[in-house]
Each structure stands twice: as C-alpha cells, then as structure tokens.
C-alpha cells in the first residue's frame, strides 16, 4: 500500500483506520493523497503502490482534502481534550494541529452521546470522541475472532458499544485501548490518573508470563499506573489483559516491604547481617553442601548472576537450583523463536492451550493460520483447540501424551531413536499414525509445550532426530517468567537438581536453605516433598516480592525490588534477552537483590567484586542465549498409566489465575479455577453449572470452585497448577474422588 511504501522512505501519511495487522479498510479517509494520473484524491491505505507511481502527500489538493476530513470529524467532537486521558497522546490532536483548520465553521448543536460508558470492567467508551475508524471492532471481531464490540446505529448516529448486558470478556480486549487512535476507548483503571507530562513512560517487557511482550510502563510519583503494548520490529505490540492490568502488583497489600527475622520486623541491613553471619558459621562447620539456594525464576538476569556468584564464591560452591511448576526438562537445544514460529509449516500444541498459558502466542498462531494457512495439530489430555483456533486434535488418557507422541513418531519413522523411545509401547493405531504423519511432514515444525510429563523430553528429542534436517523447534509455555535467566547464568534448571536439594533439606542434610523468589510448597510438582523440606530444614530464608506458602516456617525474610522498580534483564520463552527500565520506586525497605546479596556477602566476610561490571548480553548471539547442541541418548518412554475408575486429575498453567496478586486485575479474576465437563457437573448435582467441590485422593483433600467447560473430557477434572490455596501438587496420583459440597457462606 502507498502508506507503507511511504513509511519505508520516512514519509509519514496520517492514518486512523489503517493498521497493518488488520489490513486495509478505507473507512476514515484521513490518508488522502494526490496520485498523478488519477482524477481524484486517493486513500493511501487502500491503494497499492505500483512502479512509476507519483504520489504527492503534501500538495495543496491533498492538504485540502485532509483538512476537510478533519473538519467533518470535529463536527460532533466535544473538544474536551483538556480532560481527556489521551490528551497529548492522541492522533486527532496531532493531525488537527498539523493539518487542520484553526477554527470550526459548524455552529449548530453537537450530538451528545455516552461519555464514560463501560463496555467491560476495564474499558470505557467516550462515544463523542470516536472517529469511527473501526479498528477496535475489527481487531476484536476479525483479528481476535471474539466479536464483542459493535457499531450501533447508522450515519452520524453510529457509536461503538457492546451488546447491552454482555461486557467484553476476551483476554485481548485491552488492546483496543492502545489501538484507538483517539480518546474514545479509555482504560478505566487509568482514567483521570495522570497526564502525559507528569509521567515517566519507559520501555519494558511484561513480567507476567514467559512470552515477555514488549510494553511501556507508566510511572507516576513512584508508582506504576499503566502498562501499554509497544510495537517492535516483527511484533505488533499486543498484550493480554492478564499482563496489562497486573501492573499494580508492586503496590499490592500482600507485597513484602519489610525484613523479618523469626517473624519480627527488623531493618534489611540487620537481616542481611544476621544471614551473613549464620551462613558463615554453617559453612565453617558443615561445609558449603550444608547450604543450598533455590530460585523461583522471577528475578532479573543480573539478580540471578549475583545469586550464582554468591553460591559459588561466597558460600564456596553451594548447590543452586530452580523451582518450576512442571516436572519435565526442556532439551535447550530445541528452543525455538517466534520468528521460527512465523515460518513454521506445522505447529503442535503439546498439552498446552496457549490462550491460557501464553496468551499473546495464541494471537500469533491465529494470525499465522489466517494469513498463510499454518497447520495446527494438538495432542493433549483435554481439548486444546478452540473456536478461534482450528486444527486437528488428539485427546489421550491423562499421563499418556509422551507415550502417544513416541508411538506416533515410531509409527512413521524408522529412525533408531524413534524406535528406542517407543520401545515397549503398544504400536501406533491408525489415528496415531495420522498424527505421526502430520508431525513428520517436511518443512519446519514448532511445538508448544507446557513441560508436563517428564517422558515428553526424550519423545521430543526422538521426534527431532527422526525429522532429520527438517527443523523441529520447541517453545516452552511454562513459567516462571524468567526461568531461562537461571540458564543464562549457569544455575541448573532441571527438575532433578531441585528435587535433590529439597530431599536433602527434608533429610536434614541442609542447614540453611535460601529461597530467592521461590515458592516450592505452592509450585514444586511434589508439594509434599517441598513442605517436608521447609519443615525439617533448620533455617530457611526467603528473599522476594510476595511471601511463599509456609511463610510461618521462615527464619528470615528479605524484601526485594520488583519489576519496573529498577532496570533489569529478562529472558523470554525464546531465550531472548530483554532489558526493561524502571519507572517506579521500590516501596518500604524493598531493595534490589544485588544490594541485599552484597550486604550478606560483606557480613559473611567475602564481598562480591565487580558485580556491576557484568554484561548479561556478553556472549549472546542476536540477544539470544547460545544453545547447546542436541546430544545425549534417548530413553524409552514409559507406557501410559493404566486407566482407573473414578475421576482423573489433569492440570495445566493459566496466566489468568497465576499472575501476581493485583487489585486491578482482581476485577475479573475467576474464583472457580477448576473445570469439568458440564454433564459431569450435572451428574454431581451442580445444575447451575458451577459450585464448590471437594477433591480427594487417599487421605488428602481440598476444596475448590469448579465451573463447566465442554473442552474438558468427561471423567476428568482440570485444576490449574501454582495457585495459592489450591494444592493440586499435594494430592498425589491422578485418580481423585469428586464430591459437591455445600457453599459455605463467607463474610
């Protein structure tokens, strides 16, 4: 299009309705240009640029056309820029200033409409300011595929609204605030909070899931007040609402802002000193093996580097590990990128529904399907495809994904590793052979995997080897957000290392356990082991932003600075380093991890040298981790667990539920996190389609709210992992009894 061609040579043509992700529409006509040999002004956004075309963007005719359009747009505009949230960030202001007339000629009364009409708990429409570009309606309807906004009425009476009584619920709805070129779609939580000239707006990356969407954070008076999407080359700048509206987590009431020793508040300096002296005494007496460090993978790369050096140099070689909510380890050699996803011929969703676990990746998949017919396959223990993402899927028994993948590969490939992985498994049936064929198709394959089922690692390696020179890439959709930072600095990220550390702590072989942002009781797949470790280890110290489960067992707590409170580097699910800047200040006594660890190191007697001289990007290629080669042998995958009667537990990760505590995002937080097939709910007597149930297995049980979801196969209960108060990692086994319980009236 002429508009894009002009942009490549640095000429800016004004647009409202046009957006490259949405395609041309030609609704607003602000982009009028004069094209030689064409009788009338043309819209630059719908006219394809051709060889030899001569376009005038600044001619008298073009400017007159634009001025006319702007005059029309302002006929019913309330001109209330002084109280508009977007005042100073608005393309109507900018273009009128640049091209418009100074004075309006329209003297009649303006049409009045809704000014603060809520279409969702987060979004207000000011219908008087709308220029009817339709970006918002098309984004929701066409791009996201969730038609939730509409144009109501006709002609001059047209307004943007929702169906009465049906608010927007899409997790992508917040993007319309960014997309709206004027002050018509507004963020309710940001409404009347700040003006562009008294804020700090800094480049950052979302902190809520490993996608790491590029964004801008707005700080005012030391507090984060907004998060917006930020387009970068190759990325549109979309955010999901879970990330967008969780920006206030640093100010949440449960945020740690003071240091504690044995439950008593102390200064951070004092706590660091005591910790340093205790560590020195323990290491002197029992050696460095009596201390271990577990990171939760939420702090920055720089923080992880400090942690690593602290374990190595100060403690003299203590073990370090990562607590993650899944049991499997990704062979890092297979780590893929979003650019590779955009080039892939086939995508396999392996146990994961990206809409839930990595929301903006769902949008990328959908765009690839729509734009170039990407083929989507899914293999899971529940239905992973949705109305907005079509494909072909295989639903297998709980715990049976690895066996299915290995059998499918071996059903089609003669590769020795494929055979080895499938050794002892039943041969692939017709349906699995079809899966194998789809996965062995030539071209590039990208697998999205949520890290469940340990045996999927060898099954994936076997698949990659069987595919030979055809690229096989894996994008891990599991958190924690910054777990690859641990990989960057050499902290082991495998399940076995952290399991050993917890075992040793539970067996009394570790005297001091240092948790850095780690919440093992909640997150570690073997929750009982983690709980035993915290109970039996004589001294457990915690550094982080939110208190972990079992906080009463801690010997000491050190509050650390969080995202957006200092500059820091993150590594997203493609292994890409992303440095975000700070726009707020850490509350109370919270301090950057590096400063705290340095204070502990001093008290220990071994200060860390040149901590700040390290460059996280050193040795990376294209800002990405350097991946190890794919080596090692493949082991046979174990057969799927025998089918049992009763309900079976399945799980997964959901950003909507496990994001940081946030008062803003709490507006739409689901309080029935578990899901079952509606027919199963009806059988349990929950005829309204939701309610509290008790899940039990052996002598363990807990209560959880459940809602109906036809995408959960019958006889299964889906419970998300890593949720406070929902200890799915302590039930053990996959057979559970489910019983509806009376709703206990609360408050």
């Amino acid at each position: 299009m002429v508009v894009d061609a002009a942009a490549t040579v640095g000429i800016d043509i004004p647009v409202y309705c046009y957006h490259q992700a949405l395609g041309p529409l030609g609704a607003c006509r602000i982009c009028l240009v004069e094209i030689e040999k064409m009788p009338k002004l043309m819209t630059a956004c719908t006219t394809a640029a051709t060889d030899g075309m001569v376009v005038h963007t600044q001619s008298q005719a073009a400017e007159k056309g634009r001025r006319g359009i702007l005059e029309f747009l302002l006929i019913n505009h309330p001109l209330d820029c002084p109280i508009c949230d977007k005042g100073g960030e608005c393309f109507l202001q900018d273009y009128v200033f640049q091209y418009g007339a100074g004075q309006a000629r329209f003297e009649e009364a303006k049409i009045q409409r809704h000014k603060e009409y809520p279409v969702s708990p987060y979004i207000l429409v000011d219908q008087e300011r709308c220029v009817l570009c339709q970006r918002c309606v098309r984004f929701m309807g066409e791009y996201v595929g969730e038609e939730e906004l509409l144009m109501d009425g006709r002609g001059v009476h047209t307004v943007i609204t929702n169906v009465p009584g049906i608010p927007l619920t899409s997790p992508f709805s917040g993007n319309v605030i960014d997309l709206c070129p004027v002050g018509a779609l507004l963020s309710e939580p940001y409404h009347y909070r700040a003006r562009p000239w008294n804020i700090e707006r800094e480049d950052t990356y979302c902190s809520q899931c490993p996608v790491g969407c590029s964004s801008s954070v707005t700080g005012r008076d030391g507090q984060v007040v907004r998060l917006e999407g930020r387009p970068t080359p190759g990325q549109w700048g979309w955010l999901c609402d879970h990330g967008r509206f969780t920006y206030d987590f640093g100010a949440h009431p449960t945020r740690l802002t003071e240091a504690r020793l044995d439950g008593e508040p102390v200064t951070v300096g004092r706590a660091a000193q005591v910790l340093g002296q205790r560590l020195a005494a323990v290491v002197r007496e029992h050696g460095p093996d009596a201390v271990a460090v577990l990171t939760g993978g939420s702090h920055t790369v720089e923080d992880h580097y400090a942690l690593r050096r602290f374990a190595d140099e100060v403690l003299g070689g203590s073990r370090a590990g990562l607590v993650k909510p899944v049991e499997a380890d990704l062979p890092l050699a297979l780590l893929g990128t979003f650019a590779e996803l955009d080039q892939s011929d086939t995508v396999l969703l392996l146990g994961t529904d990206p809409y839930e676990s990595a929301p903006v990746v769902h949008l990328a998949l959908r765009e690839n399907v729509r734009r170039r017919g990407l083929v989507v396959k899914a293999l899971g223990d529940r239905h992973l495809l949705r109305d907005t993402l079509a494909g072909e899927e295989w639903v297998v028994e709980p715990g049976g994904m690895a066996a299915a993948l290995a059998a499918a590969t071996a059903g089609v490939s003669e590769h020795p590793d494929a055979r080895l992985a499938a050794e002892g498994l039943a041969p692939a049936d017709e349906s699995l052979v079809r899966l194998g064929q789809a996965l062995m198709e030539p071209g590039a394959l990208t697998v999205l995997w949520d890290g469940r089922e340990q045996d999927l690692a060898p099954a994936l390696v076997a698949l990659a080897r069987a595919r030979g020179e055809h690229p096989t890439r894996v994008l891990p959709t599991f958190g924690p957000r910054n777990w690859l930072a641990a990989a960057r600095v050499g902290i082991p990220t495998d399940y076995e290392t952290s399991r050993r550390i917890l075992m040793d702590a539970a067996d009394g072989r570790i005297q001091v356990l240092l948790l850095w942002g780690a919440d093992p009781v909640r997150d570690f797949p073997d929750g009982d082991l983690a709980a035993r470790a915290l109970e039996r280890c004589p001294e457990v110290y915690f550094g982080g932003v939110f208190p972990p489960d079992g906080a009463e067992l801690l010997a000491g707590v050190l509050p650390t600075a969080a995202w957006a409170e200092e500059a820091g580097t993150y590594v997203n699910m493609e292994g890409r380093l992303q440095t975000g800047r700070g726009a707020a200040s850490a509350p109370g006594q919270a301090r950057p991890t590096r400063n705290i660890l340095q204070a502990v190191a001093r008290a220990y007697g071994t200060p860390l040298r040149k901590l700040d001289e390290w460059d996280p990007y050193e040795g990376t290629v294209d800002d990405r981790l350097v991946l190890p080669p794919l080596e090692g042998s493949v082991r046979p995958v174990s057969p799927p667990p025998a089918a049992e009667s009763g309900f079976r537990l399945i799980s997964g990760l959901e950003v909507a539920l496990t994001h940081d505590p946030s008062e803003v995002a709490a507006r739409t937080k689901e309080d029935r996190p578990a899901r079952m097939h509606p027919a199963d709910l009806a059988d349990l007597g929950l005829l309204t389609g939701s309610g509290p149930v008790e899940l039990s297995s052996g002598d363990r049980s807990f209560r959880v709210g459940v809602r109906g979801d036809p995408r959960i196969p019958r006889g299964r209960v889906f419970v998300p992992r890593g949720l406070r108060g929902v200890p799915i990692n302590r039930l053990g086994g996959i057979a559970v009894a489910v019983r509806a319980v009376e709703e206990v009236a609360s408050r």
């Binding site: 309807g141 906004l149 509409l150 144009m151 109501d152 006709r154 509606p678 036809p710």
Partner: protein, 172 residues
C-alpha cells in the same frame, strides 16, 4: 454462549415458532447474514417490535454473533427495539408535509394521546412516530397507520388517524 448452554428448546420467553421461521429464512437465503433480515421482519410483524430475546434467538438459530445482530437491528430505523402499540402512526415531517402543517398535526396527536413522539400510550393502543419523506408528497400531510398510507390529513382532522381501520396483527 454455546448452543449446549442455551439448550435447543430455548428459554421460556422464546416463541417456539421462531425456530421454524429461522429455518424457513435459512432455506430461502442460505447465507446466515442474508437470512437475518427476513427472520427479524417476521418476528416484528408478529410482535410489533423486537424484544432482546428475539435478537438472542436470531443469533442462536442463524449462528451469528449476537453483536452482528445488534448492529444490523440498530442500523435500520424501521426495526423497533422498544415496545410498540397496537397501531403505529407515522407522521411525515419532511418538507412538503411540513408546509402542509404536519407539525400541528403531530402536536394535536400528542395532545390527544397524551404521549410524546416516539412513545406508546400506556394502554398499548398507539405508538406515535415521525417519518422522513414517505414519497407521498401529493398526500401532504402524509401519514401511515401500521405502514398503510393515509392522507392528506389536515391537522384538525387528526381523529381520523386514531379511528383508521387497521388490519390487526392477528389477522395478518
């Protein structure tokens, strides 16, 4: 909302005939978007206006987004989304009729019925509406009663409109 959640029988306030009307519209116009208007017209002829449930039903039976149905209904001014009386009186307010006194006619009707333009009498007998040029300027001031032309109606003869014989919806 999926069809399963709604149940195919529909909520109690849904007219059971709507399903077959939608099917009939679908037969004539295989594209759901095209079948929408005939379906809505049929419901409006039957009930006089389009209740929100009718829009829900249109979306459900024709498998269209509810938002799309809403947009279409709001686009056409002859679709009514408010309760409508037994007789709907349209008074043309465009140029020829205005010159012939449609203003006064409308005023007289408002007085007689005790409602403002756009409203329905509490007993549900009459709805009073304005119209743009009805393309019957030779009958100015031109009116419609249940879409049937009446005119000319001089302002003082407003009563004739109220007594106009109408084919009631029941006979339709």
């Amino acid at each position: 909302m999926t069809s399963e959640e709604l149940g195919t029988g529909g909520a109690p306030e849904w007219n059971p005939e709507w399903a077959s009307w939608a099917a009939a519209a679908r037969e004539e116009f295989p594209r759901a978007q095209s079948a929408l208007m005939p379906f809505l017209h049929r419901v409006q002829t039957d009930e006089g206006w389009l209740r929100p449930e009718a829009l829900d039903a249109a979306a459900h039976y024709l498998e269209l987004p509810r938002q799309y149905v809403e947009s279409v209904v709001s686009f056409y001014s002859l679709f009514r989304t408010e309760v409508t009386g037994h007789r709907t009186i349209h008074v043309c307010m465009s140029l020829s009729c205005a010159l012939a006194g449609s203003d006064a006619l409308l005023h007289n009707l408002e007085e007689a019925l005790g409602v403002r333009v756009g409203q329905t009498t509490p007993d549900g007998a009459y709805t009073l509406l304005e119209a743009e040029c009805l393309a019957a300027c030779d009958l100015a001031p031109a009116c419609q009663v249940n879409l049937r032309y009446v005119g000319p109606v001089p302002p003082e003869r407003f009563q004739t409109l109220l007594e106009e014989e109408v084919s009631t919806r029941e006979d339709a």
